[in-house]
Each structure stands twice: as C-alpha cells, then as structure tokens.
C-alpha cells in the first residue's frame, strides 16, 4: 500500500492509506460508525455530524467522514462523550418531528428511526424546553409531479442536494432561506421542480421527506418482495430490484453494491408501470380479429410456408433476451433457410463494431472509466442517451476530479457544464470533423497518414488527447444513426486505431439488448458469439424490398416498425407484406400487423441482457402471468414448421457468455465525407430524449409524467425570426409536418433545431425519412 499508516480504532490496530477517511477505514474493517449524510455514492458532506468520533488528543469529537487518517491516530467510535454528542444532534432532528411514522411511507426503512433506536432515545430535553405551538409549518410540495417533498419531515442532511449536484450533475435542489426564518430544501429558483426526475433524491433521503408519488400509500416497505433484475430501458444494464406486492410492481429500488452504485434514471426508477396490463397486448390476433394462440401460430406458419425462403425477412427489436434472439437466429437460418435477418442494433452500434480496428478491446466496464485521465465524448448528448455514462463522467470529473473532459457535438450539452474542452461542428459535418481531428492528432503523434479534413480543431483538445495516458471514447448513438453512419464509424475506427491500446470504447445504445444482438448474431454482418460474417441483408433495404415485392412476409420480434421507420414506410411494410408480430406492448405495429402474438414482457421472463460492458446480466421473472416467452412461441412456430430447434445449443452459448468479437480493421480507412445536404431552411436534427427509449416507454407513468409531449428546441434568434415564443407551438416542416411545443434554448446553435424521437403519436422520422436523423426544416408559427 502506498502511504500506509497505522491507526488504532477502539484499541485495535488497522492499516490504512493516507488518502482514506476514518469512516472509510472503519467501514472497510467492519467497525460500525453511524452516518446519515455520508454515502459512497457521493462522498462526505459533513452535514449530519452523527459520524463524530473521539480522537485522542483532540478536545471535540471530530467528523470521521471528513477527517483523513494520520499515522498513530487513536480513535474511539462509541465512547460516552461521543454518544452524548450524537444524542444532542438527534434531539435537534427529533424536535417536533411529526408523529407520522404510522402513515409515513418511509417507516420501516427510515434512517431517523434507526438512529433513534440505536441511541436508545426515549425523551427529548430540547423538545421539552420548547413550545410546540411556536414551531412553524414548513412547506409541502405537491406540485413537483413525480416527487413529493414534505419539509416538515426533513432533517436537513443535504443528501438530496449533494446527490443532485455531485452524482446527477443537475444541481437544482438547495437549502433555501424561507420566510419563517429557517431553511428548507427547495429548488434554487423557487419554481416548481423541473428536472430529470431521476428520483435519486428519493432513493437517498434518510427520512420520508422526499418520496415518490407513484409509490405513495401503496405499500409498506416490509410487505414488498424484492426481485433483482436488469433494467429494460437502455443498454447500461443497471441492476435494480423490482418491489413486488400482489403480483404487481409497486416501485423500483437499487442497492449500493450494484455496478451502477444504486443509481437509476427516470425510466429505470419510475417507468415500471409500462408492464401493467393496459399496455400489453392481451390476446393473439389475426387480421385484427381475436384468435386463440394455437390458431395464431398456425396462421403464422401458413404465411411462412407460403413464401420462398428469400421472400421472408426477420427483424429483431433488440429488446428481447439473448435466449429469444438465439431462438430467432436458429429458426430463421435453419428452418426458413433465409439470410434476411437483421436487428435495430444495425442502425448504430452494428456499424461501429463491423469496422472495429484490430487490438481494440470491444467492451469495457463502465467503472473502469475511472482509470482514464481523459474522457472524449463524441457525437451525442450522453445525458440523454445513457444517464449511467453521464453519471460516471460526472463522478470522474466532478467528484473524483481525476479526468479531463472533451466533448465533440454540435451543441453545448449537459455534460459541458462539468467544464469541458468543447469541440464543435455543425450537424452533417461529423465525418469531416473526425477526419480533421484525425489529421491533427496524427500530426501531433507523429503518425503519417493521408487522411485529413478541412475543419480547424482547437489545439487544447488535440493536446489533451495526444498526451492522455488512457482515453475513454464515448460514441453517441446519434452520430452513428446518421444516413452516412457507416462513414462515421470508419472515421471513428481511424481515431481508435490511432489511439491504440490507450483507448476504452463505450458506444451508447438506447436498446437494452443491442449488444446481445451482436452476441446472438441477429444483426447483419454478425454470427453467433459476435463472430464476423458477410453482410447479407439490412433493415435499411426492407421498405424498398417490400414495395418491389421481393419480400412477402416479415417476422418481427419486438421490432415496432414505427421506432425506426417513418409512418409511410412502416405502413408500406405492414400493408405490402404479411407481417407476423411478436411483442408484449400494444404498439402501433401491433394494431396493423397481420398476425399478432403476445409474448411475456421483461418482468415475466427469465433470461439475459447483454449491456454496454459486454456483461451478461440476468433478467428474472418477477410477476406471474399467462404470457408465454417469445422463445417458446418461436419454438412452437418452428415445430409446426417442421424443424425442432436444438435448445441445448442455446443453453451452451449462454453458459459460455463471452464474445468472440475481434477487431478486423488493420489499416486507416480513407473516408469520403458526403455529409448531408440541407436545403435553404434550418438544419433539423432528431435527438433522443432521456425520458424515452423506444416508443413503448411512452406508456409508463414515470416517463409520461416527466415529459408528456415532445418539444422542438430552437435558438433564441431563430425563434425571434420565426415569431416563436418559449412554450408556444410551432409547426415543424420536413418531409411532412409535425406540430410541436417550442422550447427556446440559448445553447442551441443558430440555424439548428432539434426534435426528440419516440413520443407516441409524434413520429420524428416523418420529418426526415426512415432511418435518418437529419432533415432540412422550416418553422411555422402555430396557434
């Protein structure tokens, strides 16, 4: 150990590092020190003072969370003096703390209850000295939408303020002075809470002051059974516990020992109601009529049998478990003998991993980002695409202060508030930008190459990147989903190759099992275990193939067509081909498909999701229901088709649980930048919202309460030119038109507007065309 010191706690000697606090050393060695405000998620605050310990030679008790260890320190954690000190603090907290344990949601898992029990407090001298009638009523915030805040229950430990600031990096909460003379937790500006609604403040609150409105009065903590599972809303693979009572999910929690450090975003924590009955497909249908499962399966088999093998295409929505994906793969390749198999993952990460350079580690643990001294985030707003990555960056930069941040995007985003070296380009210039950066980097590293670009790259960014010991390269989904995404991937591959071994790659994805798709070989260009193979079929071609009559039947597994195609193309596929749709959620595709077979949603299946780290996270069945998993449905279809799928092969593949995905690219690519030709109007960009991942996520309460309609973001100057006001409505015209609420944002570059994807009823692809996220836009004032 570097800088090892020896300290004595309660007479016993322990080894410690100089950089550690007393509390950390004690906890590591199983010595109990109570602490309310301290959490490993964000470090010491020093607000609660309950962790005070007696140090020999010091008069007053010292805070063990903030105090670093010194050689030869002698510490007593529960001497009488310390206990008295702690009691006095708790007396203050308890002073007229409302007698509401009986109706308070927190009761039973409340830290204030625990500390009262621990210190065995039976009466409160500070309460006896005061008159209860003089205690002012504090505010109760009913208007904070998902979050309920009752300041009367607050003990002002500032955990919520700290987690909002240091972990979430939103920093909207503060201790604010109030009319009655004291302080309360409130928003900094005093307006109703408008934030990410991640509920981190609810999860960390020691008392019932912060609580979830979705959970309030539904159940007591001790009635809930917890089932550990993996979140279904993006590829972060956050581990969470579904809290179950009477076969329903009532809330979602996460434990400190999870890889995501108990952090969950809005979708993970509050959007659980997406699996409630009203959002699920109830029964199988055929041509819009209710039929039995047997009949629907028979119908599906008949459709498939009536087509030649190359007339059938199958698409996976990258949301199902790896087991289901492998079943689909075996069915399509062996039973149908069709090569027409692809997945939504091909729209982004598939492009990058197809051109991954040799020697680059394809997957890295998110926590390993802490080893990197430079973080380079390219091509997307990380905070919207993957909150877990955003929070890991925040931890590196803000909390641990050990990394520098470089962002390359077309606008200032949330992570730029951490203090970044901002490299900017305009939408459509991604390839040009990457080539220019490559040129500058190659120059600075002394590598000879012909790749060059025309953009000027600020020197400090290049210097940071070329001098970095370890670089975390975060690739945004947005850049890869551009129509020229393959060129972007190649240009990125050049940079990866240039940085070589010192780079750690993280490619964000909004689809929870898009990495599983690479493993199971459902995505175009990949075979099982992520091995490479020839590209044969792409979902980009599907609308044309259907229109030309080359594909007559389409098998969709969780692939809601409206997630990636425009309404026009999706309807063309649904009308032009016989679509067999297997999914859990009542999406638009389910309303129009020829045969619809409901499958069990993620809360009712056992299986695995593969996350951005390449980890196989297990998904556990938490609810009972009469739905069959998609794998069983596919097995049944396959049996009737005349092929029995070898399930042993699937089990073996899962138990191996490791990729054989290796980089192939050996030489720098020469990438021509085609860019995108915008018209005369504004540059329109489709972006992701942190409150949506796929259209089905609109169905949940958490997402829809946090944000129920999409907003078009506009630069103030553009807004003025077009006569738009913040909060008003505007018609956005691209290929077709959408009427959207306007948000005027100074951070938007002039001449660019952004429209978020995946709001139910507002298909952004209608503006840009299928599988494209750029369009030339016009803004018209709406009423």
């Amino acid at each position: 150990m570097a800088d090892a010191v020896k300290i004595k706690i309660n007479g016993k000697e322990y080894e410690a590092e100089k950089s550690e606090s007393i509390l950390q050393v004690a906890r590591r060695n199983g010595v109990y020190i109570p602490a309310i405000c301290y959490s490993d998620r964000f470090g010491a605050i020093g607000a609660c003072r309950i962790c005070a310990v007696e140090i020999v030679g010091m008069k007053k008790p010292m805070l063990s969370c903030a105090m670093k260890v010194k050689d030869g320190m002698e510490i007593f954690t529960d001497s009488e003096k310390v206990q008295e000190f702690r009691k006095k603090i708790v007396y203050e907290w308890d002073k007229f703390h409302p007698l509401q344990c009986g109706v308070c949601d927190k009761s039973g898992e409340c830290d204030l209850q625990d500390i009262n029990y621990e210190l065995n407090i039976t009466e409160n001298p500070s309460e006896e000295a005061a008159d209860p009638l003089t205690v002012p009523d504090r505010s109760i915030h009913y208007e904070w939408r998902i979050i309920h805040h009752d300041a009367n229950l607050c003990i002002q430990c500032r955990r919520c303020v700290t987690i909002c600031d240091r972990v979430v990096n939103f920093g909207i909460l503060a201790l604010v002075k109030k009319d009655w003379g004291g302080r309360e937790i409130d928003t900094k500006d005093g307006k109703p809470l408008e934030c990410e609604f991640c509920g981190q403040c609810v999860s960390i609150c020691p008392t019932g002051a912060m609580s979830s409105k979705l959970f309030k009065y539904k159940a007591r903590p001790w009635e809930l059974a917890k089932v550990r599972t993996t979140c279904q809303f993006c590829a972060s693979g956050c581990q969470m516990d579904l809290n179950i009572k009477d076969n329903a999910i009532l809330r979602v929690t996460s434990e400190d020992n999870t890889p995501n450090r108990a952090n969950l975003c809005n979708l993970g924590r509050f959007n659980y109601s997406v699996v409630s009955r009203k959002n699920l497909i109830e029964h199988p249908t055929s041509n819009g009529k209710k039929v039995s499962l047997e009949k629907a399966i028979k119908e599906a088999v008949d459709i498939l049998k009536s087509c030649k093998s190359d007339e059938i295409a199958a698409i996976s929505g990258a949301r199902e478990t790896v087991e289901e994906q492998l079943t689909l793969k075996l069915f399509v390749e062996n039973a149908l003998s069709s090569k027409n198999l692809d997945s939504f993952a091909s729209t982004h990460i598939g492009k990058l991993y197809r051109v991954l350079p040799e020697g680059i580690e394809p997957f890295n643990a998110v926590s390993d980002m802490e080893e990197c001294d430079v973080i380079f985030a390219f091509g997307g707003d990380v905070a919207n695409e993957m909150p877990r990555l955003d929070w890991q960056i925040t931890r590196n930069v803000k909390l641990l202060k050990q990394s520098k941040l470089i962002t390359a995007y077309w606008r200032d985003a949330k992570i730029d508030t951490l203090g970044s070296v901002a490299l900017r380009y305009m939408p459509g210039e991604e390839v040009e930008f990457l080539n220019s950066l490559f040129g500058a980097l190659a120059n600075s590293l002394g590598v000879k190459s012909s790749v060059k670009g025309s953009l000027e790259i600020p020197e400090d960014g290049v210097k940071l990147l070329s001098e970095a010991k370890k670089v975390a390269l975060i690739v945004g989904e947005e850049a890869l989903e551009r129509p020229y995404g393959e060129e972007v991937a190649k240009a990125l591959a050049n940079i990866l190759m240039l940085l070589g071994e010192k780079v750690k790659l993280y490619a964000s994805s909004k689809y929870n099992n898009s990495y599983g798709v690479l493993f199971s070989g459902v995505a175009d260009g990949f075979d099982t275990f992520g091995r490479r193979k020839e590209q044969s079929f792409s979902l980009y071609e599907l609308p044309n193939l259907v229109k030309e009559g080359k594909v007559k039947s389409v098998l969709l597994l969780n692939a809601d067509l409206f997630t990636v195609y425009s309404d026009e193309d999706a309807r063309a596929i649904l009308d032009g081909a016989s679509v067999i749709y297997i999914d859990s959620y009542l999406t638009q595709t389910a309303e129009h498909a020829r045969v619809v077979i409901p499958s069990a949603p993620f809360s009712m299946v056992n299986g695995h999701y593969v996350n951005i780290e390449g980890r196989f996270n297990s998904v556990a069945k938490a609810l009972e229901g009469d739905f069959k998993p998609a794998s069983e449905i596919l097995l049944e279809i396959s049996n009737q088709y005349g092929y029995s799928i070898p399930t042993g092969v699937i089990k073996d593949a899962i138990s191996k649980a490791s990729f054989e995905l290796e980089g192939v690219n050996k030489e720098f690519n020469n990438v021509e930048s085609k860019g995108f030709e915008f018209g005369d109007g504004l540059k329109g960009v489709l972006v992701y919202s942190k409150f949506r991942s796929g259209i089905f996520s609109s169905f949940g309460d958490g997402a829809s309460i946090a944000m129920n309609e999409p907003v078009v973001e506009v630069n103030p100057e553009d807004a003025e030119e077009n006569g738009l006001e913040n909060g008003g409505y505007a018609t956005v015209e691209g290929l077709s038109a959408l009427k959207l609420k306007v948000k005027v944002d100074e951070k938007m570059p002039k001449g660019v507007i952004s429209v978020p994807l995946w709001f139910y009823g507002y298909n952004g692809y209608n503006l840009s065309g299928s599988l494209n996220n750029l369009f030339s836009a016009k803004l018209l004032k709406g009423e």
């Binding site: 007698l99 029990y117 039976t122």
Partner: protein, 398 residues
C-alpha cells in the same frame, strides 16, 4: 446398518410400529426385530414432522420466533415460551431486571403447564395400557388449567404469553382465586389417580421391571427430566441451576432408584404434587408491580405510549420491521420442562435476527434411550415404555 433391520435367522421377524399407530404418540416409526415376542433389537426413526424450525429462526426477528416455540412441545407451550425467552434475555443481559411479578407469573404458568402436560401423559399412558377411566379424570382437571390459560392470554393450546422482557399482560381479575381453588382441589385428584393405578395389579404387571435403564446409562444417553429421576439421578434444573424465583420457593425433587416404567410413573405423579405446592406458595406470595421490564430498546412498549410518543413509535417500527439488535455473542439456556431439559443455544452477530439457533429437545434425546430400555423385553412393553418416556414429536422433529 443398524442391526434392527437385518435378520440373522428365520426365527427373527422385523416389525414396523408406526408411523401411523395409536400408541406412538405422533409420528414415530419404531422398527423392532422380534424373536417370537421377545425384542432382539430396535431402532426409532424420527423426522416425519420436521419443519425446519431452527432454520426458520435465522430468518426471523427474535420476537417473531416466539410463537414458533409454542409449536415445539405443544402440550407445554408455556414452558417452551419460557425457555426461549429466558435464553434471549440472557443474550440481551436483562435477565436480572425482569420484574418480580412477571417472574412469579412465569413460575405459575410454567408449573401449571407442567401439571397439564403430566396430566396428558398420565391419561394417554394409562389409556395405552388399557385404563380408560384415568383418561377422563385427567382431562377433566386439565380442562381446569386450560381455562385458566385462556383467562390469562385468550388461547387454549398455543399461548405466546411469556414474552421477551416479561409476560404479555398482567393476570386478569379472578385468576388467582381460581388458582387457589385449583390448588386446594388438586391434591385430592392426584390421590384419585393413585387409587386407580398405583396398586392396580394389571398396571403393576405392565410397568414394574419393564423398560429398565440404569443410572449410568441414563446419564450416558443424556436423557433428562423425570426419566432420569426414575433411575436415581437427583438432578433438577429448577433447584440445581436455578432461575426465576425458584430459589425462594419450597419444593422437593422426587427421585426413585428402580429405573423402570413404574418408577418414572411415580416420579411424575409426585412432581404434580410438588408443582401444586409451588403454585400454592406463588398464589400467596405474588407481589404487585409491572409485568414487563423497562428496556424500550428490546421490549414492546405499551400501546398508549407508542401512539402518543414519537420516540416510542419510531423504535416500535424498528423493532417490528428490523428486529431489536441483540449484542453479538452466544448463549445457552436450559429450563426444566415437563419432558426434561429444553435448551436454546443462540449465536448472535449483532443483527436483528439470530445467526444460528439450536434447540436441545428433550423428547429427541429421550427417544434415543428407548432401544436400551426395550431390549430383551416383550413387544407389548414398547407401548408402556413409549408412555413412560412421554415425548411429543413437535419438539423431537422440530
């Protein structure tokens, strides 16, 4: 393999007694190897009523486990409550602080439980051997005791009355009067039983010299309670490792040296009389006062206080949901139960739930001495030995 399962010659026959047999007092499967009517060897098989109670305890707070102890020896639930609660109190270090009134109530309940348990023993023991009348007499008096239990706690079989820190509630009005009435009456009743059995020729033939176990064997097998005291071992935890207010009370420990079924019969008959003496003294001497110790960290506080005091309410929630935090350490406490020494061993790591809880069940240990007792005897002796060992399978199989 146990030799009871292997025949050596064609004269020998293997016979299963139980697990469904009216005289096995529960689900005992008793395998005997016979040579004619003579028992060559035998083997008791237990575990048919296994519920994993010791394991269950590891997933429960200390208070939650209390009702489970009722379901060990269900004929003496009060005594089981007592032994468990005393073990936990020893762990918490509050044994000395139990209010005197609570201690007296505990002794009253324990001795009433002993009499009730012995009455069922006598009733069934006699019934097995063929004396029907005794059964009716015994259950008549037992009813009297059960009614008193019902007065005190509302239940007639599983009481959960003795709680960590004291007893659930004070004795109701009129309880002590009924108790005095009972003690006055009970001496005569015991005499009635003696008249029916003690000099009865059939009874003597079935019990005298049957099921013999020597003093050494009784000690070596580790059997306890009335079974050992019938073999001349002068050992009773109430006197030799005293707890509660037993040292203040005047009673004798009956010991007989014959080591047969009849000796064990006499021990229990005499014990009922001694218990009655203890009850008489308790009914006279019981002091007034609290029935629950004032240790809010560990025991339930009165409902009125919980509903009106913040701190009581807060702690109540912690105690209910997470359980009170017992100090780390290990304890063993054994109490003199009607069946013998019932012991609880608790290992605590400082959590709200025990890390390990082991029950020393007297029924289980007493059964282990049975092959020794019946060896060389007649097949009919099994019935009278089973009766004299007085086991309950809820406790044996746990």
């Amino acid at each position: 393999m146990n030799e009871a399962y292997v025949t050596k010659n064609e004269r020998e026959v293997i016979l299963n007694v139980g697990p469904q047999h009216p005289a096995t007092h529960g689900v005992l499967r008793y395998v005997v190897k016979l040579d004619g009517e003579r028992i060559v060897s035998s083997d008791p098989q237990v575990g048919f009523l296994h519920r994993g109670i010791e394991k269950l305890a590891e997933y429960m707070t200390y208070n939650q486990f209390n009702p489970y102890t009722d379901r060990l020896d269900y004929l003496a639930s009060m005594n089981n409550n007592l032994a468990y609660v005393m073990a936990v109190e020893k762990l918490l270090g509050i044994s000395d602080k139990i209010p005197p009134r609570a201690q007296y109530i505990r002794v009253i309940m324990a001795e009433l439980g002993r009499i009730a348990s012995h009455l069922v023993w006598l009733a069934t023991h006699a019934l097995d051997i063929g004396a029907m009348t005794v059964f009716l007499y015994c259950f008549r008096e037992r009813e009297y005791i059960i009614d008193m239990f019902e007065m005190a706690c509302g239940n007639r079989l599983t009481y959960n009355y003795i709680r960590i820190g004291g007893v659930a509630r004070d004795l109701p009005d009129g309880f002590l009067d009924r108790l005095k009435e009972f003690t006055k009456l009970f001496y005569g009743k015991v005499k009635e039983y003696h008249q029916l059995l003690s000099k009865n020729r059939i009874w003597l033939k079935r019990t005298k010299g049957v099921g013999y176990i020597s003093k050494e064997d009784a000690i070596n097998y580790g059997i306890a309670g009335p079974c050992t005291r019938g073999s001349g071992v002068d050992w009773d935890l109430r006197r030799d490792m005293p707890y509660l207010v037993y040292p203040e009370l005047n009673f004798e420990i009956p010991v007989y040296d014959e080591g047969d079924v009849y000796a064990r019969y006499l021990v229990r008959m005499e014990e009922m009389v001694q218990s009655n003496r203890i009850l008489e003294q308790c009914a006279e001497n019981i002091p007034d006062g609290d029935v629950m110790v004032d240790e809010p960290q560990y025991v339930w506080e009165p409902k009125e206080r919980v509903m009106t005091h913040n701190y009581a309410l807060m702690k109540h929630f912690v105690k209910v949901v997470k359980g009170f935090k017992a100090p780390p350490g290990e304890v063993y406490f054994g109490a003199e139960n009607p069946k013998g020494e019932l012991g609880f061993y608790i290992y605590s790591t400082g959590e709200g739930k025990p890390y390990r809880l082991k029950i020393r069940a007297p029924s289980f240990i007493n059964i282990s001495a049975m092959p020794k007792m019946v060896e060389g005897g007649l097949i009919a002796d099994i019935i009278s030995v089973i009766g004299s060992l007085d086991f309950v399978f809820g406790e044996c199989d746990r």
